[in-house]
């Protein structure tokens, strides 16, 4: 059963009572929320995600609940508990959805050390995965959303989970977090895209979440083989440049954006070397996301054409 198979009323009731165990990629989170207004956006954005039956084992327990109980309901602040411990500073209720999404990311950062975790968007086409590692502001989520609209499969807009043994990237499709101008840019590219309610005046500005495409969510069990690493950089008024970089440079670029490279020690080193070994590595400077998507589409088509030539020669 998926989230969207429940009526909103029933989903809201379960969310406020025992919580709902939602599976996303390799993880299951039990989410409990005492904020009635949070039920509708979760129900909307996570409609295609499977619900695990009650009583099962969950990787993470997430709870949003009110604090400052002496204040009237409208003035209360809220807190997010992860595995029963408090996380961020208490927040205003209008930030609840953004806090939940950051909280779910933080669950992965903090404990999914069976993977090499890289702060990167990941998309896939024809079985080949493209990693876009970068710090906040590099434009990776915007580029990721635009690539998904152009037909690439979403694996993650935020976290690349690399299996150290197999070298493949696990899918972790969740709502794509967009900020400020990127929200309207993506709405312009895909007027039919579904968004949750925007959170205005967060510490990152306005944040809104785009619903992940249903086919990407349905393929949550399909890993992808990494093929390209592209380190994006958004620079206003700059001409598009897609330049090959040395593997040593790419190694440091990815290591710098890894959450747990040093924690994993030799396992992390070996996994990262293998990742770099099998990928073609680039930097991408762009001002217009449409141009960047076109350049990355060309990379993908060249790889497909080269595969076809090879098959014909054999």
């Amino acid at each position: 059963m998926n989230v969207g198979d429940l009526s909103l009323e029933r989903f809201a009731a379960e969310l406020a009572d025992q919580g709902v165990a939602i599976r996303w990629g390799p993880f299951t989170s039990r989410i409990v929320s005492r904020l009635p207004e949070l039920a509708a956006p979760i129900h909307l954005l996570y409609a295609d995600f499977p619900i695990e039956p009650p009583g099962g084992i969950c990787d993470f327990h997430v709870c949003l609940r009110p604090r400052s109980l002496r204040l009237p309901w409208s003035q209360r602040r809220f807190e997010l508990l992860l595995d029963h411990g408090p996380t961020f500073q208490p927040f205003a209720r209008k930030f609840a959805l953004a806090a939940l999404e950051w909280g779910l990311n933080s669950c992965v950062y903090g404990s999914a050390h069976r993977f090499l975790i890289v702060h990167a968007a990941v998309v896939e086409r024809d079985g080949r995965a493209l990693l876009l590692p970068g710090r906040p502001g590099a434009g990776k989520s915007t580029l990721c959303a635009a690539l998904v609209i152009a037909g690439w499969r979403l694996l993650s807009d935020e976290l690349a989970l690399i299996d150290p043994q197999e070298g493949q990237i696990r899918a972790l499709a969740r709502p794509i977090s967009l900020k400020n101008d990127a929200i309207e840019i993506i709405r312009g590219l895909a007027p039919d895209a579904v968004f949750g309610p925007p959170a205005v005046d967060t510490h990152k500005g306005t944040v809104a979440h785009m619903k992940p495409p249903s086919p990407s969510v349905r393929r949550a069990e399909d890993s992808a083989v990494p093929q390209w690493i592209v380190m994006p950089r958004f620079v206003a008024d700059e001409a598009l440049q897609l330049n090959a970089v040395s593997k040593a440079n790419a190694f440091w670029g990815v290591a710098d954006n890894s959450i747990n490279y040093e924690i994993l020690g030799e396992i992390g080193f070996t996994a990262l070397v293998r990742l770099i070994d099998r990928c073609r590595c680039y930097t991408l400077t762009h001002a217009e996301v449409v141009d960047a998507v076109a350049a990355l589409d060309r990379l993908s088509r060249q790889a497909e054409a080269s595969k076809e030539r090879h098959a014909a020669a054999v």
Binding site: S246, K247, A248, N249, F251, W252, A255, E262, G265, E266, F269, T270, V273, I276
Partner: protein, 108 residues
């Protein structure tokens, strides 16, 4: 001017020191091109990016512990550098390896 006798001794001892990897150090190497080499130290969990010369010196020390003069002589043919410059570079690189825990001097 004469150097104090202890300073002379120190200088002589230093020249005779043999550079080797500390017992606990075990290295993993990754070289995609000649110019930049990545080495992972299993003991510290740290990763280092080395230029071609530093990598060559560390590989040599790993294979065969040696004095800095031995190292300078060994590399005299491979790197087209003046002998004095080469010797200074070897000294500097070994001192840096010592700081990073990648190599250490031992008494002869």
């Amino acid at each position: 001017m004469q150097l104090p006798s202890d300073a002379v001794t120190t200088e002589r001892d230093r020249a005779a020191e043999i550079w080797c990897l500390p017992a606990e150090v075990s290295l993993l190497w990754q070289c995609w091109d000649e110019e930049e080499v990545i080495v992972f130290n299993r003991a510290s969990g740290l990763t280092h990016l080395l230029d071609a010369f530093s990598a060559a010196v560390l590989r040599r020390i790993e294979a065969t512990p040696a004095t800095t003069s031995d190292l300078a002589r060994f590399f005299a043919t491979g790197f087209e550098l003046d002998e004095r410059v080469l010797s200074e570079r070897v000294d500097a690189v070994c001192a840096r390896f010592d700081q990073l825990g990648l190599a250490e001097p031992t008494p002869p």
